[in-house]
């Protein structure tokens, strides 16, 4: 720990070179489960475009045949044409109705899946990743990037298909109506192709910049609001404002560029459409005058042209939403593509069954019963660190090669100056990190072969920071064991001395920790952490500075409870207050990543080593 790593945010932000392909693959994998729905939607798209295309045909029919015949006294053709036209209108309304719903439902299903997938993957990523990345960055993946994807899925995927298909239909109709005129229309596609190609290139870059810059803004926002106490106490407001302005300016510029890119794209597309329309009128008029085509055909042609280029605007829009969404998807794909660092085993090995008679009778039960721990509940497991060496990436060794065996049921105190490597060691035992070399095993099973759920139910760590999640206090204690009954929750709170405080809160155990009266002091939050351990009932307990915020009487109360609960369990305790050592069987003193002393407290205190000194110093501070 002596050389902490840099916060390499920019490194985290870098996208792998093949990310565009990965984003596409991600999109495809999301859409694939909905293929039957996609087929259904495709049918609806076909039908919708058919009705949209066919409408003008009936009108042309009405104008060309219906009216002359009606004038001549026979309204049958006209009535038929109009009836069909209305029928097609009703059909297209019904189809639009159905499609809107189905698209909404499907798009939301996809978004739900994607959100969930990102969430679980982020949870799986190792602590190393989280320490390098900022929460704001991951929040931006789940919020603004997700919004971008959602916009595309709900507004564009269907529209794009519809627009394309409609154009195909209209193209066919145009050919049927009049080949020479149709050729004029198709000629317009040559410039459109080049316009689209150019837009693809410029817009891609612009949208990537918007995604990156808004993520920075979000990171800054989250950090400022999260540290608002320091911001206000140190009068950082002008400074924070300046940074926001700087980052937001980058976002504004990127956004302006992207929007202006759309302006060019849309403008050119419209121009091509309009020029084509003019050419059609000229050529069409000429053909009609020459008698090669009928007025109705020309009228229909002009109507179709509107319908033909109308979708083009739609496509321009969709194209841009797609660009924006794919830039966002790239960011999301990069998160999903990150290696979890501590990978799950392909073939998990189960832990051997407990040998003790008591089995996992439960700490909470023991607590509920009283203080006299029953000797039968031996549930500890042995921990072996063999040939272990640890370094971050290619950095220097944080923990040089060492061996350590902690027998089942032993309580070990880990002592040493800040940065001696204590936290790193316990992070190996809890598999927050994997060792660079060697193995860490629990009852002989390599942690890397253990199923995560089994590992976590067996080994639990409490850290100095005690985070509370939105919800009630009972919910927060239940993080230790979601299945715990109310009585067990109360028993756990009583055991650590948290119960009296909770009783004083407006709604007791049901008080929302983030709302009305739910403010807990840091000491009380630590008690919540302990209560969680009591519910979790693990084989191995790791406490990393878990009592730092407690006053001495509270700490003693916790220790008393711990003494009961740790009976028979394996425990590793890091604490600067040596009072903790009182309950330890063994003390390890660490310095610069090495274990320099190892023995029972009595042995070490009696000796002349570092621990003896520390202990004397500590005793002197007592009264």
């Amino acid at each position: 720990m002596s050389a902490p790593r840099l916060a390499q945010d920019d490194g985290v932000e870098e996208l792998p070179p093949d990310i565009a392909a990965k984003a596409r693959a991600l999109l495809f994998s999301l859409v694939r489960p909905h293929l039957p729905m996609a087929v259904l939607l495709l049918v609806i798209v076909v039908l919708t475009s058919a009705t949209l295309v066919i409408g003008p045909i009936f009108i042309a029919d009405a104008l060309d045949t219906g009216i002359p015949q009606a004038v001549a006294g026979d309204p049958t053709a006209l009535t038929r044409a109009i009836t069909l036209f209305v029928a097609s209108a009703v059909a297209s309304a019904v189809l639009a109705f159905t499609a809107t719903r189905l698209v909404g439902i499907t798009a939301q299903k996809i978004i739900f899946t994607l959100r969930q997938r990102v969430f679980t993957h982020v949870q799986r990523l190792d602590l190393g990743y989280h320490e390098k990345s900022t929460s704001g960055r991951l929040v931006s993946r789940q919020t603004s990037d997700m919004e971008s994807v959602q916009q595309f899925l709900s507004y564009s995927l269907f529209e794009t298909a519809l627009a394309l298909l409609q154009m195909v239909f209209i193209a066919i109709t145009l050919i049927v109506l009049d080949v020479p005129l149709a050729i004029v229309v198709f000629a317009g596609f040559i410039p459109l192709f080049f316009i689209t190609k150019a837009a693809h290139q410029t817009q891609r870059g612009a949208y990537r910049r918007t995604r990156t810059s808004i993520a920075k803004v979000i990171v800054h926002f989250v950090e400022t609001m999260g540290g608002i106490r320091a911001v206000q106490a140190y009068r950082r407001q002008p400074d924070r404002r300046g940074t926001l302005r700087e980052q937001d300016s980058a976002y504004r510029d990127a956004n302006t560029d992207a929007l202006r890119g759309v302006a060019w794209f849309a403008g050119w597309t419209r121009l091509v459409g309009n020029v084509t329309q003019t050419v059609i009128i000229v050529v069409g008029a000429w053909l009609v005058i020459e008698g090669w085509t009928q007025i109705g055909v020309l009228a229909a042609f002009i109507l179709y042209l509107r319908r033909f280029y109308g979708p083009l605007d739609e496509l321009v829009q969709s194209f841009n939403l797609y660009q924006s969404a794919s830039a966002a998807l790239e960011k999301i794909a990069a998160v999903l593509d990150t290696d979890p660092g501590v990978p799950a085993p392909a073939q998990p090995t189960p832990l051997p069954a407990h040998t003790g008679a008591g089995g996992t009778a439960g700490a909470a039960a023991a607590v509920a019963v009283g203080t006299e721990g029953s000797a039968a509940s031996a549930t500890g497991r042995s921990i072996d660190l063999t040939d272990v060496r640890f370094a971050y990436a290619d950095g220097p060794d944080v923990l040089p090669r060492f061996d350590l065996t902690i027998p089942a049921g032993q309580i070990v105190a880990l002592v040493g100056a800040t940065g001696a490597g204590k936290s790193t060691l316990v992070k190996l035992v809890t598999r927050f990190y994997d060792p660079s070399e060697g193995t860490v095993s629990l009852d002989g099973v390599d942690l890397r072969d253990l199923d995560d759920a089994e590992l976590r139910s067996s080994v639990v760590m409490v850290t100095q920071e005690s985070f509370l999640f939105a919800g009630t206090i009972a919910d927060n204690i239940r993080i230790g064991n979601p299945e715990a009954s109310d009585a067990e929750v109360v028993a756990a709170a009583e055991a650590v001395g948290l119960d009296p405080y909770i009783r004083r809160l407006p709604d007791g155990y049901d008080t929302d920790v983030k709302k009305r009266g739910g403010r807990l002091s840091s000491g009380q939050r630590q008690l919540v952490s302990f209560a969680r351990v009591f519910l979790a009932d693990p084989d191995v307990v790791v406490l990393d500075e878990a009592t730092a915020h407690l006053d001495i009487p509270s700490e003693r109360l916790v220790q008393k409870a711990l003494a009961t609960v740790l009976e028979g369990r394996t425990a590793i305790i890091i604490a600067h207050r040596l009072s903790t050592v009182e309950i330890a069987d063994r003390v390890l003193v660490m310095d610069a990543g090495r274990i320099v002393e190892d023995g029972t407290p009595e042995e070490l205190i009696a000796g002349t080593g570092r621990f003896a000194q520390l202990h004397r110093a500590w005793r002197d501070t007592l009264v």
Partner: protein, 603 residues
């Protein structure tokens, strides 16, 4: 009126009204211009084509071409012009929101879910940006286009105009039905985005706990409930959309059918021509797009009203901790102060409860004195500390510095005088130097090193890969707890503040180091009035005076030794008589004294 949240953006709009009007006109132009094309087309069909006069074709065709080019240019120009305007608005609104929140008191911050603030600053503002770029101009232009189209139809043939008017009735009815339900759903949905954001933030910030307990599946389940809720609301919106859109697709088509039918009847009867019917149908065809678009525009407008409402809710947050004149001056003049800190009959309760956290608390700290405040967990120590820099305000009595009620000082003069170190160290994503210098902007490296030396952080900082330039990550996560605390403490002591408030600043540091830090503090900052919250006897012993906080008031005060004599509570807090060393588990341990209250465990 429910559009009020949008109307409140008028000052921003007015400031750029010239350019926005140009945008509006261009929108109208781009949308309306195509209405003319059918008229010309009708003229071409009835005129040159019918009469076979090719030469008569050129003028109207040039017109069509000119209009086509004009339309494309208008489209291009509108987007070009509006892009920087709305992008600038978005970031200006965000800056306003950000600034409002920066000066909002901590108590109010705590009452907001963090995600609700972030979602307002991002999702809602990008919704508003889109609305002002497209939604609003189109919402204003589209009805005009429809009206003009209807007038053109009327001029062309009054009966056609009448048909359009008849069709407007069910459209308006549909809008009325749709609006309220859509508004409610949209509000719920946007609130759900905030909840999702909060949950994502928590699940990342609490990742160690989730991992420690293997509760990631539990968190994922929790998250899925929220995202399921959002999904449901969005689907409900889609269903409302589906009703509205199908109506808006159907009605203009029916109008078209009526025009053809009745038009033909007119041709038969001789009161209109085929050319007129063609023109009429074409105009109504052009009108279909704007009418269909109305559905989208209204939905967009409603979402924007919701977004605007959510934005103003934050902007309207009352600032309760301000300078006497209101507002907070960023850089007020700082007068000379001796640094006497007095709590005078201070009451404090949180805004949502009557239960007093601090009740009639009196405490005086002389200039230059160091007072250690001790008390049980939850006795109100942190609350007391937060009153000094006015992160919270007293609800009764007063805190005075040199006899002046701190509420009469400019907030930032006070915060200049008072330096705080929090129990949860807050480091920002910046270099070590920047993080420390925050305490006294403008300090040079010597001052930084001195501060680091006081807090015994110089050793590890000098071993950092880039020394003072080393970036410490978000909340300094890549440093250990003790290292973070010492950097945060260095920030508090740099610049030798008049008053130091240290809330359990070294809880994660070993006793040895803590002692060193304390001695340094006294040596280098002898003139700073110091309030230090402590748990350890060693800390208390080094203070000039110790005060014991219990149940919201000071129950004992004196030197460490005095209190050990006189205060049973203090003795208990200091673990007096409990120095029983060795192991409670080890047989024959040197356990002394029988007054140990924690005689549990295996005997």
């Amino acid at each position: 009126m429910f559009v009020r949240p949008l109307l409140r953006f008028w000052p921003d709009l007015r400031a750029r009204i010239g350019i926005y009007l140009v945008v509006l006109v261009l929108t109208l132009l781009a949308n309306g211009i195509q209405l003319i094309v059918p008229v010309i087309t009708g003229y071409i069909i009835d005129g040159p084509i019918t009469s076979g006069d090719l030469s008569g074709l050129w003028l109207p065709v040039l017109g069509v071409l000119g209009i086509g080019i004009a339309e494309a240019v208008a489209l291009w120009a509108r987007r070009m012009i509006v892009a920087p305007v709305v992008s600038t608005w978005e970031i200006r609104w965000r800056a306003r929101l950000f600034d409002r929140l920066q000066y909002t008191s901590v108590a109010i911050h705590d009452s907001w879910e963090s995600g609700q603030l972030l979602s307002r600053a991002t999702n809602d503002l990008s919704q508003l940006r889109r609305f002002f770029a497209f939604g609003l101009p189109f919402l204003l232009a589209t009805p005009i286009v429809i009206i003009v189209g209807t007038i053109m139809l009327t001029v062309l043939q009054p009966v056609f105009g009448l048909i359009m008017l008849v069709m407007a009735v069910p459209t308006i009815l549909a809008v009325a039905m749709f609006e309220r339900r859509y508004r409610e759903t949209s509000r719920q949905s946007q609130d759900a985005v905030g909840e999702i954001t909060t949950d994502v933030e928590e699940s990342i910030q609490g990742i160690r706990i989730l991992k420690s307990f293997g509760r990631s599946p539990w968190a994922a389940e929790r998250f899925s409930v929220l995202s399921r809720k959002f999904q449901r609301l969005e689907v409900r919106k889609a269903k409302l959309d589906s009703w509205f859109w199908s109506v808006l697709i159907l009605l203009p088509t029916l109008a078209q059918a009526a025009i053809v039918g009745i038009g033909t009847f007119g041709v038969v009867q001789g009161w209109t021509t085929i050319g007129t019917v063609v023109a009429g149908v074409t105009i109504s065809m052009v009108l279909r797009m704007p009418i269909e678009m109305l559905g989208f525009l209204l939905a967009d407008a409603i979402m924007s009203i919701t977004a605007a409402g959510r934005y103003w809710e934050v902007i309207d947050i009352r600032h309760d901790i301000t300078d006497a004149a209101g507002g907070i001056d960023d850089d007020p003049d700082v007068g000379r102060h001796r640094g006497e800190l007095v709590f005078d009959d201070v009451d404090f309760h949180f805004s949502d409860t009557d239960r007093l956290t601090l009740a009639g608390l009196d405490l005086t700290i002389e200039p230059g004195q160091t007072l250690a405040l001790v008390g049980t967990t939850g006795s109100g120590k942190t609350t007391l500390a937060s009153l000094v820099p006015r992160l919270q305000d007293v609800t009764g009595g007063a805190v005075r510095i040199d006899g002046v009620d701190i509420r009469d000082l400019p907030v930032n003069e006070l915060r200049h005088l008072v330096s705080v170190s929090f129990e949860d160290p807050i480091l920002f994503s910046a270099s070590v130097r920047d993080n420390v210098v925050m305490g006294a902007p403008g300090s040079d490296d010597d001052a930084v090193w001195q501060a680091l030396e006081i807090t015994a952080a110089n050793d590890f900082v000098s071993r950092l890969p880039e020394g003072l330039d080393t970036q410490v990550g978000e909340q300094g996560l890549s440093l250990s707890g003790g290292q973070r605390q010492r950097l945060a403490l260095a920030r508090a002591v740099i610049g030798k503040p008049r008053i130091l408030v240290l809330d359990d600043p070294l809880s994660a540091v070993d006793v040895d180091t803590e002692d060193r830090v304390q001695l340094k503090l006294r040596e280098i900052l002898p003139d700073s009035t110091t309030l230090i919250i402590a748990h350890r006897p060693s800390t208390a012993a080094l203070a000039d005076v110790v005060a014991v906080l219990d149940e919201g008031r000071i129950v004992a005060q004196g030197t460490h030794e005095e209190l050990l004599e006189t205060s049973p509570l203090y003795r208990e807090l200091m673990g007096a008589g409990m120095q029983a060393t060795a192991s409670a588990r080890g047989e024959g341990a040197t356990a002394s004294a029988g007054n140990r209250p924690t005689e549990g465990g295996p005997a």
